[in-house]
């Protein structure tokens, strides 16, 4: 199993090098091959799943703070206390698989040459490393690995305003990274270790340290997630990024923020998180409503979907802010659901934009007249994204609200109510989108577009569709092994 975790990072790294050296026409096949191997590897840790959390071994809540299914712990820079410590548990596993899957689909879909394919694989290293890292400094390093490849993807293959968007993306998230570095260093120096297994539960840190550390970490993750009002890099980046860039950005990069919030923020500074949770919850709800309202006014397809991410991530952060097992579980399933659904939405939006040559909602209309399959898929993705029960998006949103109600008190009940209203607004803008794009007579741009869905497109989209349905019907797929780790993380007795 140790080699497996190393291989998870080594295979895409090797792939990136090989793909970069190959001629363009081979790039797609080879990159897909490497991504496929990585995907298979990413799914394997389930075999090492331990039952040590079982109710007989420990009373949940009083076992060791974290028991990864598989881990690698090698000294790296002993002088700095830096270890190469990787591990998988029930919290990170779904996100690792999601990363493997989305990278594979993007590599298969990518028709823009070897450089982009290589960058996708480099991105995968950073994202997987972030989800695998069990050492704070290592976490920070992987967190940073992602920045420049993403910058290159946007700046290299994006739309007309790509340079400005890429610059804004990189500078904004870099500013967040500075805060992350400060937070990480604060935690590491005051606790004397960067090991997340030891740090989880954070008995060693004083209350004040935890407060400061959580503020720094939360700000950094809030930029990445993004949380209103730190979101303004997102719409530009998404609108300009190429299709695969948008898919990876929305599908997995944003998850690094919410995952970090749970694993590092709440894990290393639980008291700080508890102290800041009302602010976090309040901002999350503002994000939900503001995101939805802004979406009602958008006239560009990809920009609308980008802003919808702000609202969805608001539900995820609301779940985290409740600091309850139910809430954080809602956040985890919301994370995965958003990755699947918004990934699919961006694939579809990118295809529609490529076919019609425009993303303007004023110019696209009547898609179901000429391309019923594409329209049906867009309808499916939009309805999934608005949180229809039975599809993946529902559980995260509904249980974030339920968790807020469970938390009780007028403040959290208000948050729950406003978040639920935000859910209705979400329906409003997605229906507006569908009405514009799919209904009515076909516009010239749509009539001229080729209606058929190609084989590669089916290949890239079908897994997302099936998983959206599967997670929607059986959310246990994502949540199966999360209760006990979260009970330990949050210090909650079941």
């Amino acid at each position: 199993m140790n080699t497996l975790l190393i291989a998870l990072l080594a295979v895409p790294a090797l792939g990136a090098v090989v793909v970069a050296l190959l001629p363009d026409r081979r790039a797609r096949l080879v990159s897909t091959g490497f991504a496929a191997v990585t995907f298979v590897l990413s799914a394997l840790p389930i075999l090492a799943r331990t039952d040590e959390y079982s109710w007989f071994a420990y009373g949940p809540g009083d076992g060791p703070p974290m028991l990864p299914w598989a881990e690698v712990d090698l000294p790296w820079v002993p002088a700095l206390g830096l270890e190469f410590h990787l591990g998988v548990d029930g919290i990170s596993y779904p996100l690792i698989v999601l990363t493997g899957l989305l990278t594979l689909l993007c590599c298969a879909y990518n028709r823009k040459g070897r450089a982009l394919a290589a960058l996708l694989l480099v991105l995968e290293i950073g994202v997987l490393g972030t989800f695998l890292a069990l050492d704070l400094i290592l976490f920070f390093l992987f967190f940073e690995v992602v920045l420049l490849p993403m910058y290159a993807v946007i700046a290299g293959w994006g739309g007309p305003n790509r340079r400005a968007a890429a610059r804004k993306f990189v500078l904004y998230t870099l500013a967040g990274s500075v805060l992350l570095l400060l937070g990480v260093l604060l935690v590491v120096t005051s606790a004397g270790t960067g090991d997340l297994v030891t740090l989880t539960g954070a008995a060693e840190l004083s209350k004040d340290t935890q407060h400061v550390a959580f503020v720094l970490l939360a700000l950094a993750f809030a930029v990445k997630a993004p949380l209103w009002p730190l979101h303004t890099w997102l719409p530009d980046a998404h609108t300009e990024a190429p299709t695969v860039g948008s898919v990876i950005l929305a599908g997995v990069l944003l998850k690094m923020g919410t995952y970090g919030m749970i694993r590092v923020g709440v894990g290393a500074a639980p008291e700080g998180a508890g102290w800041a949770s009302p602010v976090l919850g309040g901002l999350a709800v503002v994000a939900i409503v503001a995101g939805a309202l802004i979406c009602l006014r958008q006239t560009e397809l990809k920009r609308l979907i980008a802003y919808s991410s702000v609202g969805h991530m608001g539900f995820v952060l609301l779940g985290i802010a409740t600091m309850s097992i139910t809430g954080v579980q809602a956040a985890l399933v919301g994370n995965v659901a958003h990755g699947l659904i918004t990934g699919l939405l961006f694939f579809l939006a990118g295809t529609i934009k490529d076919r019609t040559g425009t993303g303007s909602l004023d110019l696209i209309g009547g898609l179901r007249e000429t391309a019923p399959r594409l329209a049906g898929l867009l309808g499916f993705a939009a309805i999934a994204s608005l949180g229809l029960p039975g599809l993946a998006g529902f559980w995260g949103e509904a249980f974030a609200v339920i968790a807020a109600v469970q938390r009780g008190g007028p403040f959290w009940l208000t948050l729950a109510a406003v978040a639920a209203v935000g859910g209705a607004l979400t329906a409003a803008y997605f229906l507006r989108l569908l009405r514009r794009v799919t209904h009515g007579p076909a516009t010239p741009a749509v009539a001229a577009a080729s209606p058929a869905v190609t084989r590669i497109e089916w290949l890239a989209w079908t897994p997302l569709i099936l998983l959206t349905l599967a997670v929607g019907v059986v959310p246990a797929l994502v949540l199966n092994d999360t209760v006990e780790p979260l009970a330990n993380l949050l210090g909650v007795k079941l």
Binding site: K168, L171, Y172, W228, P229, T232, W233, A290, L293, I294, L296, R297, S324, I325, T326, Q329, A330, V333, R368, E369, P372, G376, G379, I383, L388, P389, G390, F394, W395, A398, F399, V401, I402, A403, V405, Q406, G408, A416, A417, A420, V421, G423, A424, L425, A427, A428, L431, R432, R435, H439, G440, L469, V473, V474, P475, A476, L479, V483, L494
Partner: protein, 636 residues
């Protein structure tokens, strides 16, 4: 088949059939594909019907927590399990019967529709979702079915591609019900959080504090108002007539609007503990009964008359629930399912024959369409409550329950019972009036199929058929559902005399006392007035007597405008403000930070290029500053 198998299969079969159907290639005129889609849809509905029959014959008696776990959210365990007691069994039976007839009827009705396959699949999904609400023993699963229905109604109402108003009507149906669902979600969230369980059995037996309970139940009522088209969230239902007519039958008779009533019925052990919630429900019901009935009087569109009559009749059901008689509500739900399905399918036959929805272009159809005519007679008679048709018995039950509750002793306050009773009684007369008007305008008199300027221009809703020279009864696939549905529409009321049915619903013994006289008198008055008006001015619309109130009633009390002014426009304004704030303030700060940094950089760069004297001054100033800092540091 064991109930632990049949119960879960009941919703699953149509749901799975629906999902398979969605993957099938769209019909596109290919006969084999159409046959496959139709076969799948009909088979799914038929299997569900058999399962429902099985469950009615041997229902479960306690809500056990069986089934399998979908997920553990903390200590909340969401399970897929079903609880089919006798009442749920009868509702499921009604749902599946109507669904089966709708599927069969649609084969002929949509015989040249190019998107027939997805349509059939969506009908299956719709049925499955309703059955999930009916049978689920878990509140989250109930919510799942509840909202999937909303989505299916959206898809089906927007089905007709040639209708400019269909997409808007579809969006409206989804959004208005979704607004109600905000309350529904919050309501069950409160129930779940307090009971620490999502299981229906736990929630119903949990001991809530009165404040919490009333708050939760009122929130749930918002969802009920949305789905069951109760005031003030009923506005989507008349517009939903843009959907194909079989869909109207499905929505009005078996699914969707029945769901809200059913959920209150299911949660009735809780509602029984909250006078405030029941009083609210009573007021809502009374207003709905009257608005629905009065709006129905002035409609020219055949389907809209029926739509408003549904609003009004669902009001009777919620009214019965409010005055403490869930049995009467459920009985009326069942009879209403029968006669409203019959009416809509018959309306489809009329529209199929004459190619228009508007009664002002019909007339004289009785001789050409005897089957349809008699279907209408039975359906409208049941709707108006004409003895011995089904609606008479169930409506009588509602009125008796309300009258009984006016004496106090029920959970709801006596005044609430008075409100319901008066509204329900008054509405008997109004219903008779508009039912008679509909029958006379459509089937009697001379044909108005030709206007003053020749044949009517084709601009109608469901008219994908060329108008036949002589209107005729529909083909067999459409005719037989009418004939078969006419049986329960006529006779289901007599089931109140069947002991098994009565005990299953916990209905009281039917007794026809002197109290029947009053509604009968009103019924005769209503029907008689309409007939007299029609006789007095042959060919003229009896609704003309409404005078200046007519456009107001035809527009449904102009509540759409109210809704537009107080909800839609504020939200769009807010959206504009927030978007402007996001661009002009939030993002502007970010951009200003960027430009600020660039400017500072440029200034520093300029500073480094200063000529010698100025540079020396700058260096000295910097040295001074550093010295000052060091000094302060030494002091500290």
């Amino acid at each position: 088949m064991s109930i632990d198998v049949a119960g879960p299969l009941l919703p699953l079969v149509p749901l799975i059939v629906g999902l398979i159907g969605l993957v099938l290639p769209p019909g596109d005129g290919d006969r084999a594909r159409r046959r496959l889609a139709a076969g799948l849809g009909v088979a799914g509905a038929a299997v569900a019907l058999l399962l429902a029959v099985r469950l009615v014959l041997d229902p479960a008696d306690d809500p056990r927590n069986v089934g399998f776990t979908l997920a553990d959210f903390g200590y909340l365990e969401v399970r897929f399990g079903t609880f089919v007691d006798a009442a749920a069994g009868y509702v499921a039976l009604a749902v599946t019967v109507v669904a089966l007839f709708v599927q069969i009827y649609s084969i002929a009705y949509l015989h040249d529709d190019r998107r027939y396959a997805p349509y059939v699949a969506q009908v299956s999904l719709f049925t499955g979702a309703m059955l999930l609400v009916v049978t689920s023993s878990d509140l989250i699963l109930m919510l799942l079915g509840w909202e999937v229905m909303g989505a299916c109604s959206y898809l089906l109402i927007g089905h007709d591609r040639r209708l400019p108003e269909a997409p808007a009507a579809a969006v409206k149906a989804f959004l208005v019900t979704r607004v109600g669902d905000v309350g529904f979600l919050l309501g069950i969230a409160v129930l779940i959080a307090d009971a620490e369980s999502t299981h229906l059995g736990d929630v119903l037996t949990h001991d809530y504090s009165p404040g919490t309970l009333t708050a939760a139940l009122l929130l749930i009522l918002a969802g009920v108002a949305g789905k069951s088209a109760q005031f003030p969230l009923h506005t989507w239902l008349p517009d939903a007539m843009a959907g194909p007519t079989p869909i109207s039958a499905l929505i009005h008779a078996a699914t969707m609007v029945a769901a809200g009533v059913y959920v209150v019925f299911r949660l009735y052990p809780l509602y029984r503990q909250s006078p405030a919630a029941l009083a609210t429900l009573a007021v809502m019901a009374a207003i709905t009964i009257l608005i629905g009935a009065l709006s129905a009087t002035a409609q020219d569109d055949l389907k809209r008359v029926l739509a408003w009559s549904t609003v009004s009749q669902i009001g009777y059901m919620t009214g019965a629930l409010a005055v403490g008689s869930p049995a009467a509500a459920l009985f009326h739900l069942l009879t209403h399912a029968a006669f409203k399905a019959l009416l809509f399918l018959a309306a489809g036959a009329v529209i199929h024959a004459v190619g228009t929805n508007l009664m002002s272009r019909m007339g004289g159809l009785r001789t050409h369409m005897p089957v349809t005519f008699w279907s209408f007679v039975i359906g409208l008679g049941a709707l108006a409550g004409l003895p011995p048709l089904s609606g008479f018995w169930s409506k009588e039950n509602v009125l008796t329950a309300a009258a009984h509750a006016t004496g106090g002793g029920e959970t709801a306050p006596a005044w609430a019972a008075w409100v319901v009773w008066l509204a329900a009684l008054l509405s008997v007369g109004i219903t008779a009036w508009y039912a008679t008007r509909l029958l006379l305008r459509t089937f009697f008199g001379v044909s108005r199929a030709y206007g003053p300027d020749g044949p009517w221009v084709v601009g109608f809703q469901d008219g994908r058929y060329r108008t036949p020279a002589v209107p005729h009864d529909p083909p067999a696939l459409m005719r037989w559902p009418l004939i078969l549905l006419a049986i329960p529409a006529a006779l289901l009321g007599l089931a109140a005399f069947a002991p098994g049915f009565r005990t299953a619903l916990e209905l009281e013994d039917p007794h026809l006392g002197v109290a029947v006289a009053l509604p009968m008198l009103l019924l005769a008055a209503g029907a008689g007035t309409a007939w007299w008006l029609w006789r007095a001015a042959p060919g003229a619309d009896p609704a003309l007597v409404l005078g200046r109130a007519e456009p107001f009633l035809a527009a449904g009390f102009r509540l759409d405008e109210v809704q537009d002014r107080f909800v839609v426009r504020p939200v769009t304004t807010l959206a504009r403000v927030v978007t402007a704030f996001d661009t002009n303030d939030v993002d502007a700060v970010v951009m200003a930070t960027g430009t600020g940094a660039s400017r500072a950089g440029a200034a520093l760069k300029a500073a480094h290029r200063l000529p010698l004297p100025a540079a020396a001054v700058a260096v000295c100033a910097a040295a001074l500053l550093l010295g000052a800092v060091a000094w302060l540091g030494a002091l500290a």
